[in-house]
């Protein structure tokens, strides 16, 4: 479980995040949605210990992210940011292989190789595994990055807007993969998403943020309500029932 207690962060006199209080249970996909500047990415980065909080505490699987050794956290929690630029030339396989670093420190065993192959195949990158990252399309590269963090085999996986720059087909593919990862590999995945319909279709729970606070947290049905969403996004949103679940119209 991810537990956030009274987490706060100040950027300036007026701009602050928090206080945040939430418990995200294990297993399944939780989506973080909200308008721009709501603090979704900041929250994710604080959970992933990439950003320091000014106040409060966050624990993941009972480990405090501020005080636990980074290496121990790395076996339990992983996070992928939006922007990733790498100076060196890496092949897909080499990149995914880095996911094993917390365990093998760079010396890959045969067991590691099997695991790497598993995730490369899972994301359908097998044919591309020896291509350099800059020889791939944006969608393929994104899959490689996600494969890398999944290869870390941590129970908790945090993804910051993984669908950016992906067209509809690739975005659907990515969410399908994440859904399968959550179910087949039993991971707890927290994603920041811009598209509420993707969130509705693929998550188990949705957390809605606004103005640096958590506005609502609950199951998909509980959040996909027209008054709630209209209030959060400050625009008229209607909900209709689609073939796979509620759909937002805006």
């Amino acid at each position: 479980m991810i537990k956030i207690q009274n987490a706060r962060k100040w950027y300036a006199e007026e701009v602050k995040i928090g206080p945040l209080n939430i418990e995200i249970p294990k297993a399944g996909i939780t989506s973080l949605i909200g308008p721009n500047g709501a603090g979704k990415s900041t929250t994710l980065l604080m959970i992933g210990r990439l950003l320091h909080m000014d106040e409060g505490q966050i624990t993941v699987a009972n480990m405090d992210v501020s005080t636990t050794k980074s290496n121990d956290l790395a076996k339990v929690l992983t996070i992928l940011r939006q922007e990733n630029h790498f100076v060196t030339r890496l092949t897909v396989r080499q990149l995914v292989g880095f996911g094993r670093f917390p365990y093998s420190k760079g010396r890959l065993t045969r067991e590691d190789e099997k695991i790497i192959s598993k995730y490369i195949d899972f994301f359908e990158l097998t044919e591309l595994e020896h291509r350099f990252l800059d020889e791939l399309s944006g969608g393929q590269r994104q899959r490689a990055y996600v494969a890398m963090v999944l290869c870390q085999e941590t129970e908790y996986v945090l993804l910051d807007e993984p669908l950016n720059n992906l067209d509809i087909a690739r975005a659907v593919q990515m969410m399908e993969h994440l859904r399968r990862a959550a179910e087949e590999f039993g991971r707890t995945i927290v994603v920041v998403l811009h598209d509420i319909n993707f969130a509705a279709k693929y998550s188990d729970r949705i957390c809605a943020m606004k103005h640096g606070q958590i506005a609502a947290f609950g199951s998909v049905r509980e959040i996909m309500k027209p008054e709630l969403l209209s209030d959060i996004f400050e625009t008229k949103i209607e909900i209709i029932e689609g073939p796979y679940g509620p759909i937002a119209i805006y």
Binding site: W10, E13, H85
Partner: protein, 345 residues
């Protein structure tokens, strides 16, 4: 490492859009009380400069002659150079959208130096005009290369720009050193780089008046240059001929740096400190910042030159040493101050 957002944001100017009525109001607003006070102070500094020096102009027979031959030209040269370098810095900021650049940090001064080396090599006893031409030409090429680089490369952090610029400068300066060593030109050529106003006298400095023309051009084109800084696509959409503007900016910078280089020498950091301090205090309003930048540039360099004359009397220190040391310190302070601002509650 991730750049702290604050340093990132202060190194890029923000521009407020003004509607036409506000613009004409602002025009009147240039002559505000603080500005008038600043102008008075600068005039005061100028007067001090006129009367600072080893030569006793009151008691010597040709004291009055000396006054006209060296003192007045020197003070005038100071004012013009200060204005020129400060404004060159401002133009570079506008066009590159980066506040940490100025001719010293993008290699232009080193190119000017290389130009001088070539001139000394090719022409025995070159005249001032020849030296100037060489310096201007090379500065133009050098600045062009830098702008070209900036256009083609996507930068993730704006602090990288001055770093690259300075490296570029070192390469050129290494090349100059090679030339001087190889052709055994040694000390005399290295000395150009030490900017000093000591040798200024009537007949040597008149070309600096070109800077007045430059100033007028900058005032006229200020807004368009700002637009060019927003990038080729945006500028073209707004109806501005991007390439021609960049060439103009380039030419202005090259002319200013070239003339100053030939007549005075290297005047470091002025184009960086003055515009930055002005915008730290007054924000980024271009129209009213220009006169301030001009005036503050004049004031700063006059002050530094007076210091240079006084610190080790009767010997003179070159003003570029004072500017180089003081400028370095102020630059660092500017960088550090922004690093922490608005991070604490």
């Amino acid at each position: 490492m991730n750049v702290t957002p604050e340093v990132e944001s202060i190194s890029q100017p923000q521009f407020s859009e003004q509607n036409p009525e506000q613009q004409s109001n602002k025009k009147q607003k240039i002559w505000t009380i603080p500005f008038i006070i600043a102008v008075i102070i600068v005039i005061g500094l100028g007067i001090v400069s006129l009367f600072t020096g080893v030569y006793d102009i009151w008691n010597q027979e040709d004291g009055l002659d000396m006054f006209f031959i060296t003192r007045i030209p020197r003070t005038v040269a100071l004012m013009l150079t200060g204005a020129a370098m400060a404004m060159t810095g401002l133009i570079t900021h506008l066009v590159t959208q980066n506040k940490m650049v100025e001719p010293t940090t993008i290699g232009t001064t080193e190119w000017a130096g290389l130009g001088l080396v070539f001139v000394y090599l090719l022409v025995p006893s070159p005249s001032l005009v020849t030296r100037m031409t060489g310096a201007i030409l090379f500065s133009f090429v050098g600045t062009m290369i830098f702008f070209f680089f900036l256009r083609n490369v996507k930068l993730r952090s704006s602090l990288i720009v001055p770093i690259i610029g300075i490296m570029l400068g070192s390469v050129i300066s290494a090349f100059s050193t090679f030339m001087t060593l190889y052709f055994r030109m040694s000390q005399s050529v290295e000395n150009w780089f030490i900017g000093s106003f000591a040798p200024i006298q009537v007949g040597r400095y008149e070309y600096l008046w070109v800077i007045v023309i430059m100033t007028i051009i900058i005032f006229l084109y200020a807004n368009r240059l700002t637009l060019a800084g927003l990038g080729e696509d945006v500028a073209t959409t707004l109806g501005v001929n991007y390439n021609r503007l960049i060439l103009l900016a380039n030419a202005l910078i090259a002319v200013a740096v070239g003339i100053v280089a030939a007549v005075v020498g290297n005047v470091p950091f002025l184009g960086l400190i003055v515009p930055n301090i002005v915008s730290m205090i007054r924000g980024d309003d271009l129209r009213t910042n220009l006169p301030w930048t001009c005036v503050m540039g004049m004031g700063t360099i006059t002050f530094c030159d007076i210091l240079a004359r006084v610190v080790n009397m009767p010997f003179e220190m070159p003003v570029s040493t004072i500017l180089g040391t003081l400028g370095a310190i102020v630059f660092i302070l500017i960088l550090l101050r922004q690093r922490k601002s608005r991070r604490l509650r």
